[in-house]
Structure formats: structure tokens, C-alpha cells
């Protein structure tokens, strides 16, 4: 039951993220010089096991500000994420982990 609640809560969150990501993109695109934090591809260990879960995560990462999922390792344990702005790896990974935790509430 709780899951469904989380799922329902998730939809506005998703939408919000989408808006936010577009905002970020717009800012980046329209900034005169690209003098922001450098981009990078970061590997993130994921705990989600089901395909649907991974799909949702990938989906979410792609739609969230500044991140884009690139590849999934063959054993489905690692997700490689491209980010426009990576300050440092640790903080970035924790951001993604936060997302994943949100998903874990209603997915496996």
C-alpha cells in the first residue's frame, strides 16, 4: 500500500525534476561561456535488481538535471552516468544514490 503512495508521490517529483532539468539545460545552453564544472562519466553501483527498477532508474537519471545514463555493466551492477557538472565524484554518487533510494521505496 505504501508503495502505491510512494508511486503516486513519485509522479509530481518526476515532473518537478523534469522542469528543473530543463531549467538547468536552458541555463547551460544560454550561458555565454561554458565555464562551469567539467563534465564526466561516473560509475554508480546500483542496488536495484529488477529490470523494471533499473529501467525506471535509468529513465529518471536521464530526465533529472544534468545527468544522463550512458551504459549499464553486463552484470547490471553498475550504471555509468554522464553529468554536465561534476564537482567531485563522491557528492555526485551520493546524489544518484538519493534518487535510487527514493525509487527503492516502491520498486525492487
Amino acid at each position: 500500500m505504501l508503495r502505491i503512495l510512494h508511486l503516486i508521490l513519485f509522479i509530481p517529483y518526476y515532473f518537478l525534476m523534469l522542469l528543473q532539468s530543463n531549467w538547468t539545460i536552458a541555463k547551460t545552453i544560454l550561458s555565454p561561456q561554458f565555464n562551469f564544472d567539467p563534465p564526466g562519466i561516473v560509475a554508480v553501483n546500483i542496488d536495484l535488481k529488477s529490470n523494471t527498477g533499473i529501467l525506471t532508474l535509468v529513465n529518471l537519471i536521464t530526465m533529472t538535471p544534468g545527468t544522463l545514463s550512458i551504459d549499464l555493466s553486463d552484470d547490471k551492477s553498475k550504471l555509468y552516468v554522464h553529468a554536465m557538472h561534476v564537482k567531485n565524484r563522491e557528492s555526485f554518487v551520493s546524489e544518484i544514490k538519493a534518487l535510487e533510494n527514493r525509487l527503492k521505496k516502491f520498486l525492487k
Binding site: 523534469l18 522542469l19 532539468s21 530543463n22 539545460i25 536552458a26 547551460t28 545552453i29 544560454l30 561554458f34 567539467p38 563534465p39 564526466g40 562519466i41 561516473v42 560509475a43 529501467l55 535509468v58 529513465n59 537519471i61 536521464t62 530526465m63 544534468g66 544522463l68 545514463s69 550512458i70 551504459d71 549499464l72 555493466s73 553498475k78 555509468y80 554522464h82 554536465m84 561534476v86 565524484r89
Partner: protein, 109 residues
């Protein structure tokens, strides 16, 4: 209602334009993909909403929703496919990019 539709359409189209600009401005394929996935998806979403509002009948709305769901399902997968391919093909990356775990892991194997 009309105003809402117009606003939706306008934002949607501007987002598309934004994406197009980004596609041209960004230095490497991965950055461009950010521009090419997020902005048009939202733009399409908004414009489809406008379309559904404009006709505001059941059939159109259902179809619009189906399309939106579909777009949001497929866009990440498609971009995922292209990005993986691009990376595998070793297309040129932006000089500023330092961290590349994917390449590191692949070399390891």
C-alpha cells in the same frame, strides 16, 4: 483556455528551439545529448497537452497521454543506446572532461 494553450505551445516550441541551439552549441556528443533529450521531451509533452486541450475530447486526450507515456519511456532508452554506442566508438570527448569511469572499467577488463 486559449491563453493556456498558447502558453503551452509557446513554451514547448521554445524548448525545442533551446534543444536545437544546445545541439549546435555544445562541444561534444554527450553534452549534446543532454540538450537533445530533455528539452524536446518536455516540449513535446507541453505541446501535446496543448493539443489535447485544444480539442478536449476523450479520444484525443487518451491518445495524447499514450504518446506522452511512450515518449518518456523510449527517449531514455534511445539516448542510452546512442550514448553507449558513441562511447564505444570512442568519439571525441570534450577536453574538459576528466572523469571517465566507463573507459577506465573497460580498460580493466
Amino acid at each position: 483556455m486559449e491563453i493556456v494553450i498558447i502558453i503551452l505551445l509557446a513554451i514547448g516550441s521554445l524548448l525545442m528551439l533551446l534543444g536545437a541551439i544546445g545541439l549546435n552549441r555544445f562541444p561534444d556528443i554527450f553534452m549534446r545529448m543532454h540538450a537533445a533529450t530533455k528539452a524536446p521531451s518536455l516540449g513535446a509533452l507541453l505541446m501535446l497537452m496543448a493539443f489535447a486541450f485544444y480539442f478536449s475530447d476523450m479520444e484525443t486526450s487518451i491518445k495524447a497521454i499514450v504518446i506522452i507515456v511512450f515518449i518518456f519511456l523510449t527517449t531514455p532508452i534511445a539516448s542510452h543506446a546512442i550514448a553507449a554506442t558513441a562511447h564505444r566508438l570512442k568519439v571525441k570527448k570534450w577536453d574538459k572532461m576528466e572523469i571517465d569511469d566507463l573507459e577506465r572499467d573497460r580498460k580493466k577488463n
